[in-house]
Assembly symmetry: C2
Homo-oligomer: 335 residues x 2
DNA sequence: CTGAAAGCGCTTACAG
DNA sequence: CTGAAAGCGCTTACAG
């Protein structure tokens, strides 16, 4: 079907080796280069990656390993990283793995048989280290995203969760809020712990007692119950930081159910932005992660490791977030 | 590093060919089979897929091609299809392409160089046929998902959009609603046109005049304006079908802003389900697509084509949806 | 059923 | 800079 390097060699009267050199950007005579290029065009030649991989023992393929693909947040990040990797001349396989299994050998088999050059790993939670341990043993370079691993040091790229929560909390404080809280999912995960630490940092700075901070972790329905309970207290919070997207939606609805208006009756900041938050009335103030930078740093670091550069290993890169101020936080300091 | 077929041959005193036959499930003597299996275990042998691919000219790789990966809906479906494909012994590459480009040759190059055996294609809109045309020319089997192509016949798997909208509308009608509508994004796309046809089918059946049907397509902010306008009319709709997830959230918030309660003051059905819809108060009635079945059918059909079976080509598979009745539709027939 | 040999399409030392 | 030769790890006819 397609033409091969042999056809080009025959057509140009050059050797296979010379064609190969051209393909790999090595030095050849300009006149030969021209000959080869014409021939490639004429014969519609395309290098066979499979053969290249077999010979060079490099697949130029990396795998993004997710606990479960069906998550909106990771989808965006995957496309960003894919684009960066393409620039490095790498192609990307996206696959999922079972983070709750004690035995990830089948996943390792997959990576090994695919001969991927490296892995970008998104841990489900900080404790899922069976797969990372296997990668380490198999000498497959990998970079962790988002969650730091417990008891296993590795390269690691994440948002500066602590600082971002600190900034959001500070914004509450500057607007006169003195009792507030946070709602989210699994609070034992690395990212959530960091965010809560950031809140406490700000409280300490402003001399806000621990008791003024209401923090809840659980599913959406139970967190709505928590929220209703807390709002029935006489000295209830005036503001809350939503630790992830879904909880923001839930809380907004609970508020409207209680007949409370944002920001007049209650202030809100949400982690992670979405088209819908700016379309809301009022538009919601959010903490946005710099996904592009996360993707850029993670891929860059991985390629560096693949190329054998283990300078500063293991390295942690914290990417700054941005507080997008819209209209969901009221200034109550004059009250 | 890893052991090869040669090592197994040496270790078992059998020939390369015999090992290969074992690997490919051909008949060999039971005693040899046992020998080989022991040796494989002992040496930790793993077949090198790259070499297998090069020789057999089959990569057992298919590519899911999305207009943009960062979409929640496709993420789920991708993981489902990946799982099915794994059962067929295929691995999956997920990649994105530019649906608005007139020139998709770089995407084709990518597929060609990766030597994928087939493609599952998600068109951005019905008119994006530059890439499908190239696939057709290159004799790469592909199956379209979700959107039917304009002016290019191909295998095609989608939800039964028309029937699902018909059923939702009928549910409105059975509950006494006589003026209603739909809100969604790009109404010129195949899926949206089908859904609107389904609504009209139901209206015709119940002798509801065209004028009682308010349909709007646009972004979330402008559709909120539309909704506010329409609700200020004296004879405003009592119910609406939300043609996609985001619009449901927007409309719920507009309603609460207007001080209207679901379902007492307004009824709602949403396309596509999400955890949050059942956590809402009241929980939202939704039309859910059978993603698992869509994934199963799409992968099954593609594998069939790859294996050269072109029976009934081009084939369209419409997957039934399900109306999940919760509490967002009021019965107003006694009013 | 088994094995010796050729070859998939390319890259990699090694001479020249 | 160029080319002849070997070989990456496997599969595929072909004899036996």
């Amino acid at each position: 079907m397609g033409s091969t390097i042999k056809d080009i060699a025959k057509d140009t009267n050059l050797s296979l080796a010379t064609i190969s050199k051209y393909l790999n950007g090595k030095n050849i005579l300009p006149e030969n280069k021209k000959l080869i290029e014409e021939s490639i065009k004429k014969l519609g030649y395309k290098p066979n990656k499979t053969a290249q991989n077999l010979r060079s023992k490099k697949t130029n393929t990396i795998c993004i390993l997710l606990p479960f693909i069906g998550d909106y947040f990771w989808g965006f990040l995957c496309s960003i990283m894919e684009e960066y990797l393409r620039k490095y001349n790498y192609s990307t396989i996206i696959s999922s793995y079972d983070a709750f299994s004690d035995d990830n050998t089948s996943e390792l088999q997959f990576l090994l048989s695919k001969q991927v050059d490296g892995v970008i790993l998104v841990p489900e939670y900080s404790g899922s280290i069976t797969l990372p341990s296997l990668l380490l043993e198999a000498h497959i370079p990998f970079v962790c995203l988002d969650q730091e691993l417990n008891g296993l040091s590795s390269d690691f790229v994440t948002s500066n969760n602590r600082t971002s929560a600190y900034q959001a909390t500070k914004y509450f404080l500057e607007n006169g809020h003195k009792i507030f809280g946070a709602i989210g999912g699994d609070l034992t995960s690395y990212t959530m712990k960091e965010r809560i630490s950031g809140m406490r940092d700000a409280c300490r700075e402003y001399n806000i007692p621990e008791d003024n901070l209401y923090i809840y972790g659980g599913d959406i329905a139970s967190s709505a119950d928590f929220f209703r309970n807390i709002m029935s207290m006489p000295n209830h919070p005036t503001a809350m930081l939503m630790l992830s997207y879904n909880y923001t939606l839930g809380t907004i609805l609970t508020l409207s159910e209680l007949g409370l208006q944002i920001p007049k009756d209650f202030s809100l900041i949400s982690f992670d932005d979405d088209e819908i938050f700016s379309a809301f009335n009022p538009p919601i103030t959010t903490v946005v992660q710099n996904l592009n930078e996360i993707g850029r740093q993670a891929t860059g670091l991985l390629i560096k490791r693949i190329n054998g550069d283990y300078e500063l290993y293991p390295e942690t890169k914290m990417i700054e977030t941005k507080l997008i101020v819209r209209k969901s936080v009221a200034n109550i300091s004059t009250m």
